[in-house]
Symmetry: C2
Subunit: 315 residues, 2 copies
Amino acid sequence: MNFLVTILGSGAATPKLGRYCSAQVVNMDGFKMLVDCGESTQNQIRHYRQKMQSFGTIFISHLHGDHIFGLPGLLSTMHLGGRKEPVDIFSPKGLKEALTPLFELSGSDFDFEIKYHEIENDEPVAKEIFHNNHCTVKAFPLYHSIPCFGFIFEEYVPYFQLKQGVAQQYNMSSADIRMVKQGRDYTTEEGIVIPNNELVLPKREPIRYAYCCDTSYNDSLVDIVRGVDLLCVEGTFDKSMEQRALETGHCTTRQAAQLARNAQCGNLLLTHFSARYRDLQPLYDDALEVFPRTLMAEDGLVLDLDVLAKYHRNA
Amino acid sequence: MNFLVTILGSGAATPKLGRYCSAQVVNMDGFKMLVDCGESTQNQIRHYRQKMQSFGTIFISHLHGDHIFGLPGLLSTMHLGGRKEPVDIFSPKGLKEALTPLFELSGSDFDFEIKYHEIENDEPVAKEIFHNNHCTVKAFPLYHSIPCFGFIFEEYVPYFQLKQGVAQQYNMSSADIRMVKQGRDYTTEEGIVIPNNELVLPKREPIRYAYCCDTSYNDSLVDIVRGVDLLCVEGTFDKSMEQRALETGHCTTRQAAQLARNAQCGNLLLTHFSARYRDLQPLYDDALEVFPRTLMAEDGLVLDLDVLAKYHRNA
């Protein structure tokens, strides 16, 4: 399994040079998902050598401009690139109504279908909104000024691990091994059926990535993101601006670190930094005081969750 | 008078790295106007060290995405920057209907008014749509797949030029000279009234810049842009693609040069190059064969029309 998160934009409402509006790529073994799509996302996709047409599955946290204004351009470019396959977009209610007039009045007539999936979930639990043979994606409500959802990306672990020595013990072929790893029982040459659970270890814990942007700190999030390998939380403000963070539905980096600590997450990734800060070191320091395994997002940063998980799981 | 054109985006429908979608700044003695606003225009404004809030007057040629998808982000950033002054946007019918749902559903509530001015002009003549004490802007219909307008930016020439020697002859003060340059008659110390036309030369010809993007070649454009100092025409395709240009409402660079030649323009600026071309030299060569005073737009290019006009007017 190859589980990569690539930051395309780590800025907040106003982009800066070198720090664009929110967008990320979650890559599960080659299956790529786009998470949020601020203005210039298509340029960032190009800049970081991703393929425009690979983003047939898009998750939008909420409808603020800095998370969606890149969608019209990206979808247009997909069309001009000859796309025929549908694009699935998961978002809070209203995205279709927001985009359709723009496409109609600009004469955009796409050769592919945009499938809008409205996320509805009022309860403070993560509910599945998508799955395929690579991953499951769950959504949960965040605490922002308009309806907003966080996401948990959980890899699908296809294979059990063989107990040490059983392949030799039963003289299994590689085809046999594959079947057993998939969960089948094994029948010996003598016709004896060995139940699968005697041959394999439990599947390893799936690697999980949680994305919480934009949101205020709220205790209800702790149980939802508990134990994820990487928790991405917005860190719009420094700790002196906690009141302003609360009023505007945002977090300080210290609050983000408190969430990571309280939820015993493997690692914390901070993003969505206000353009007011020229130097992010104080925001980083605020978080480090609370939670040491903290990373600061930069446009272009790639995180390998296999590696991250290996280190903190063994820590 | 200081008359500058700055290219923010010189690409066509699909942006490339280093060649973004259509946007230009026309700066008339410090009064700045934005012409078209493709995605990432706000980033290009920042990159080329323009001031976001200086663009209170915006002209949109047509509603295709590569000319308007930067508006939501630019207007949002103006709002977040504390703007209170209205923004005037001149465009074909439909822009308000395209943008309003996006702003409403994304919860954008601006502290300034967007004044939408719909351009209506079916006749092949340039009609005034805007003027102030810096310039006059006229719009004329282009030949594209949806309603589309070209613009002529004409400087306002405030002063007559004094005839040589008259200031000394009548012993004028600097205040007198200013009045006469503004068109007043002059009364001598002896009480004799000298009519203004005996004191001044005609005002010099105003410098004019015409913007034609997107459009097919059409003979009706020749009279409209006749004699402008700088003619900007889209050059989406090379000359081998004339049929495709016609079908899609675009020009080859050769056709653009033919327009400049037939209209006896001072200089030609080509822009809006299809992303299919890695090397634009052949497109440039196509134009140069027909019209030598041709320039190729690059993102970040600044043209000083005073200088351009001086050279070709004296040529």
